[in-house]
């Protein structure tokens, strides 16, 4: 990988309010190919407070995963941060702009300061190394511990994520474990160096519903015990209701609404959020009083192509509330002290 910073350093050392761990300011991330550029994340801003959970919600292609990979600077050879900053408060209190760190500096941050768990526990672990080896590698990389200390810490960690028989499971290979167990191993690996921030990219999407609940409980418990902040990426409003303190709804690379979780569910102020909430299956609500099945309400149309964004509101072509001014650029506006919406009719919803 090239060690050049994504964009040249211009301004003075970044400042961050005391209780903020992560703050994206006007972040834009592009994927540059030979003939065209995909603007996957456009002008995204959000803040994550210490010890809290921010959920980024959106459907496939909304830019939610790219936002998290931008923070980790794991965008691959074609991805680049085209503008904005991602401020992060390190465990020692200093504030860095992740968008401007060298890859060498990022290697010290990944795993030690910010850890990440992924959607696919079946494929995210290396099949050829034991789980103990893979968890222990974190300690080898970041704390340079000796083998017996590594083993002790790995066992501690496996106990913490509630894997029974930790001393034996240590020497198991990933294929000898179930999906839920593997996700527990991923969590143990991510948290063994006690990072300040955990990025969870759809960690329960690939799991059975009952296992999902266990994993969500585990993440919440460890968040409390380790005093960690969590950036939770998901497309599932049910999961959002379970884990989030704050919610940022993303659509076509932009944040369209941001608010505390109870406000998002009680008073959604963007037509897209309304649509997302209406399309959640709900066993009780899906039958009317007479026992007849009600139809789910899908959002009509599809997400616009990243190469051909409409000039105005990206959601307007699918929006039942769209009016003529929606064709001009719409900005994220504060409509209540803690509530932001990118809709000109937010007040009417």
């Amino acid at each position: 990988m090239v060690d050049a910073p994504a964009i040249p350093r211009t301004e003075a050392p970044p400042a961050l309010a005391k209780d903020i761990v992560l703050e994206a300011q006007n972040l834009s991330t592009h994927f540059v190919y030979k003939t065209r550029t995909a603007k996957a994340v456009r002008d995204v801003s959000f803040t994550l407070q210490k010890g809290r959970t921010l959920a980024i919600v959106g459907e496939s292609g909304s830019g939610k995963s790219v936002t998290s990979l931008s923070a980790m600077r794991l965008l691959g050879p074609t991805g680049e941060i085209a503008g904005g900053s991602i401020l992060y408060r390190k465990r020692d209190g200093t504030v860095v702009d992740l968008a401007r760190q060298s890859q060498a500096a990022m290697r010290k941050i990944r795993g030690r300061e910010i850890s990440m768990i992924f959607q696919e526990p079946m494929t995210s672990l290396n099949p050829l190394f034991t789980v103990g080896d893979q968890i222990g590698e974190m300690l080898l990389l970041h704390e340079r511990l000796a083998a017996p200390d590594i083993r002790r810490r790995v066992i501690e960690m496996l106990n913490l994520v509630e894997i029974p028989g930790a001393e034996q499971r240590l020497d198991d290979y990933p294929h000898q474990m179930s999906g839920g167990m593997r996700q527990r191993v991923m969590i143990a690996m991510a948290l063994v160096c006690h990072p300040a921030l955990l990025i969870a990219d759809e960690p329960t999407t690939a799991l059975d519903v009952t296992i999902q609940a266990q994993i969500l409980d585990l993440i919440r418990r460890l968040q409390r015990e380790l005093a960690m902040s969590v950036l939770f990426i998901t497309h599932d409003m049910g999961v959002v209701a379970e884990v989030a303190d704050e919610v940022a709804v993303m659509y076509a690379g932009e944040v369209v609404e941001q608010a505390p979780v109870k406000d998002i569910f009680a008073h959604p102020r963007h037509p897209y959020t309304l649509g997302l909430l209406a399309s959640i299956p709900n066993a009780r609500r899906d039958f009317d009083a007479a026992g007849a099945r009600r139809r789910l309400v899908p959002i009509p149309g599809t997400v616009p192509s990243l190469y051909a964004m409409p000039p105005g509101c990206a959601f307007a072509p699918r929006c039942p509330y769209a009016v003529q001014p929606c064709g001009s650029p719409v900005h994220l506006e504060r409509i209540a002290p803690k509530h932001l919406s990118r809709c000109i009719r937010a007040g009417e919803l």
């Binding site: 990988m1 980790m72 794991l74 990022m106 290697r107 010290k108 941050i109 990944r110 795993g111 030690r112 850890s115 990440m116 992924f118 696919e120 494929t123 995210s124 672990l125 290396n126 099949p127 050829l128 190394f129 590698e137 974190m138 990389l141 970041h142 290979y173 294929h175 991923m186 690996m189």
Partner: protein, 313 residues
């Protein structure tokens, strides 16, 4: 595990039995009377009759077959008609150049192909990648005798850096003999590196896009560690397979190179035996080479077991 190995040995025995049967049939299907062919045009019918009697060719075919199997089972491959010595002795006398030539050229092929394949995959689409893939195509397409002649011309005749050909004569010591193998090994190594290069590149490309590689990067390790520890080990299975096959091919298929460099190896032995209709030698070489193929395949399967914990036999 032990049951698997026992099963494999039984399977290998079955394969060898089929090989022996095919060899037996082919030799008997060859046109003409072997005895007359062996004795040449000046032999009398009485001589031919006597030889047929001595070789057992007058007996019923099934009796001959059982006798042949029994003879092979006792480790006897018969005697060369030309050298008048046991085939095994003849083969052993010619094994050294072939075995070392195969080994050296395999090592050279791996040393060339593996690093280039890895870098190619890592820098996919780059100038280096395109250049190495097309050079590999070129190396695989050029006939080895031409490369051999070129090397002889420029690295031996004109500069005198290496011996032109031969195996150093009867008095040559081990190091002198090995010195004669350098040029042919490089020629064969280059030719065979092409296939290994393409396989390593493809295997590595596959692995580099896997989720666990992203996990490895997210753990904060260097790119060296990501590629050499986490990716390479996962790419090894296809690489080991093609290296095993290349080795087997080298042992049996260095005929042209042995010819060009005038090496007294098994390749030139077989060519000579075919021209002289020395059936026992042809038959014996076929059996030994088939046995080596089976053995190498078995060793490759054992390597899978060492590399990948998911492989359970």
């Amino acid at each position: 595990m032990l049951t698997y190995i026992v099963k494999r040995f039984v399977g290998m025995a079955v394969v060898m039995f089929i090989v022996l049967t095919v060899v037996f049939v082919i030799v008997r299907l060859a046109p003409g009377d072997p005895a007359a062919l062996m004795l040449g045009p000046e032999a009398t019918p009485e001589d031919a009759m006597a030889l047929r009697e001595r070789l057992g060719l007058n007996r019923p075919i099934f009796v001959q077959y059982v006798g042949f199997l029994g003879q092979i089972a006792s480790g006897d491959l018969g005697s060369s008609l030309f050298f008048n010595r046991p085939v095994l002795d003849v083969l052993a006398g010619r094994a050294e150049p072939t075995v070392f030539l195969s080994l050296f050229s395999l090592i050279i092929a791996i040393v060339i192909a593996l690093p280039i394949g890895l870098v190619s995959a890592y820098t996919r689409g780059s100038l280096f990648d395109q250049a190495s893939v097309s050079t590999a195509m070129l190396a695989a397409s050029v006939p080895s005798f031409w490369t051999g002649l070129l090397f002889q011309q420029y690295l031996a005749t004109k500069t005198g850096w290496f011996p032109v050909a031969g195996y150093g004569g009867p008095d040559a010591d081990f190091f002198d003999r090995m010195r004669h193998l350098i040029l042919p090994s490089v020629v064969l190594g280059i030719v065979n590196s092409a296939l290994i290069l393409r396989f390593s590149r493809a295997a590595m490309l596959d692995v580099l896009s896997d989720d666990f590689v992203r996990t490895a990067r997210a753990k904060g390790m260097s790119e060296w560690r990501v590629v050499l520890r986490h990716a390479l080990k996962n790419a090894l299975i296809p690489i080991v397979t093609v290296v095993g096959l290349t080795f087997a091919l080298l042992i049996s298929g260095a005929v042209v190179t042995e010819r060009v460099f005038n090496l007294p190896g098994i390749g030139s032995l077989v060519v000579g035996a075919v021209l002289r209709r020395d059936y026992p030698v042809i038959q014996g070489t076929l059996i030994v080479v088939a046995g080596l193929y089976v053995l190498i395949n078995f060793l490759v399967d054992m390597l899978y077991l060492a590399i990948d914990p998911r492989v359970k036999y």
